[in-house]
Symmetry: C2
Subunit: 327 residues, 2 copies
């Protein structure tokens, strides 16, 4: 286990229930408050005998695979990922930019892919978004189309009950002015839309030339209760709207729209393919982000372990599947 | 191209548009009326120079893969499939019972899998159903679940405009008495429900002990117009309802329900997973069977050609993806 924030802890809790497939042999986090503590204490469970360590090097020889949840950004994750490769470890990572890095981070992608192949390991970046709703599902749905001319994808989610880092990243509680500044500074909002679009396009044999992405604040029209920011009053930011349009040879091939804000009344995920035939797919209530991210990471372990080596994406691997409960 | 009924012809037409990936080098059918004719004439297109042959043996040396659409039943397809293996050909087949033969046809499955591995070829049975809606999509959706305790799947489709063999197999125009006789005789109704259920269950690590399948007639409550059976009057059969319940250790793990009849007002496909979390997915209007079957067969060519050898199922391979049109 590498990274024990809220998502890393959810991954660890689920992994511990999969004892027919997975044995946790070590846990790493950079947070000084966690180092030396028992993993079980951090997860709110029984003691495990596994102490959180600052550095993974002493653990790698006992491990086959790293479940990695530290950052959305590939530039930050890169040195960790290359270290895993050198130590011969497969990787499933929640790093959003790893989901399909050949568009925005091609050089890093090639470096990691090369290191993976040299060391005969497999890396996969996945999660709900990117990694499932707006890419894997879109690619899968396209399988029944003769051809596709445009992908439209929508994800509306209620941010009111999400984890703190998520509520922060969508700007809950900010003033409109502060929100604008954050958008200008970059690295704000949902990370991964260009990755989802470029992956889906690549699966369908199309190179994306340009992706225009815009982020707008969603403003409270009345007071809204949130889990980590208390009551957000009218006029303040309760989340964001993010749009991306992708073009290939100046033809629009993808329109992605996401709304992530506290109090969204009718959350859903939708993929619409314009083509022969036109076809759409809808997940009423939407895919629940935090549970589902941990699930797809843990469910990806078998497909990553069995895969040929290299930096893979969800379009390259068989679907991750859950397990039936026997209870 | 092996088998040039309505589905085989749709596959051939689509394959001919994929000239960056696929070149048709031969065509086989057992229908005496077709033998010797030009494939283009059969497809209602320009001449191709490819004459339909009774036997494929002379063609195999020029081929890499067979697109096979002759029968729903594995016992009928088996000798053809084994011949393809011996000649070193990959196969994508619409044979419903090939989609996941380890439940109802385990011995044949093992024989074909062995022949495939000995000859270093890959076989895949796919289509819309089985092969996509009620299995691949269910497995894919399960990826975001911590666990699943039951799968519920529904497919409602309007049979009024489907191809003749489809309208026949759902009993359109039969009397209720004749319908009951057909059901008793076996080999009637939709083929593939046990295959879809057993594949989905296997992907989630559960063996199915028993599948109870029932077929009921759908009776016209007023006159219904159909493509191949004209107007079907009140009291006659306009299609069927088919239910399957699957059990593992006497616990119900799957409930599948399909309705295929002329005049269905609100067609849709739906997968519902009971688990953590509960999640469902809906395709409004449903996946259009005939177009989509040809599409997923042709879209499966790359994933089959690149696969390791053996008898594969859609749970084992990356998603089939369509191609973007450039027009």
């Amino acid at each position: 286990m590498f990274g024990l924030g809220p998502i890393g802890c959810s991954i660890a809790r689920l992994a511990m229930t999969r004892n027919s497939q997975i044995e946790i042999v070590g846990a790493v986090d950079s947070n000084a408050k966690l180092i030396g503590k028992d993993l079980g204490d951090i997860l709110g469970q029984e003691k495990t005998g596994i102490k959180i360590q600052r550095n993974g090097k002493a653990l790698y020889k006992n491990a086959d695979i790293v479940l990695h949840a530290t950052t959305s950004f590939l530039a930050s994750a890169k040195s960790q990922l290359l270290e895993f490769c050198r130590y011969g470890l497969d990787v499933v990572s929640t790093c959003e930019e790893l989901a399909y890095p050949w568009y925005d981070n091609r050089l890093i992608a090639e470096e990691i892919d090369f290191a993976a192949k040299m060391n005969n390991v497999t890396l996969l970046g996945t999660g709900v978004n990117p990694g499932f709703v707006l890419d894997a599902l879109a690619v899968t749905l396209s399988g029944v189309c003769e051809n596709v001319s445009e992908i439209r994808a929508t994800r509306i989610l209620d941010a009111a009950k999400r984890r703190l880092p998520f509520q922060s990243k969508v700007g809950i509680g900010l003033s409109q002015e502060k929100f604008k500044q954050k958008v200008k500074s970059g690295n704000f909002g949902h990370i991964g839309l260009p990755e989802s679009i470029a992956m889906t396009s690549a699966a369908m044999g199309m190179d994306v030339d340009r992706i225009d992405e815009r982020i707008y604040p969603k403003i409270a029209t009345s007071s809204v209760k949130t889990k980590h920011f208390g009551v957000v009053r009218k006029g303040k930011v309760i989340g964001l709207v993010q749009d991306a349009h992708a073009y290939s040879k100046s033809k629009r091939i993808a329109t992605y729209h996401i709304e992530m804000y506290a109090g969204a009344k009718d959350p859903y995920d939708e993929i619409e393919l314009i083509g022969v035939p036109n076809i759409s797919l809808r997940i009423p209530s939407g895919t629940p982000g935090d549970i589902a991210t941990a699930a797809i990471v843990v469910n990806s372990v078998p497909r990553v372990v069995e895969s040929r080596s290299g930096l893979m994406t969800v379009k390259d691997l068989r679907p991750a599947s859950s397990l039936f409960t026997t209870s």
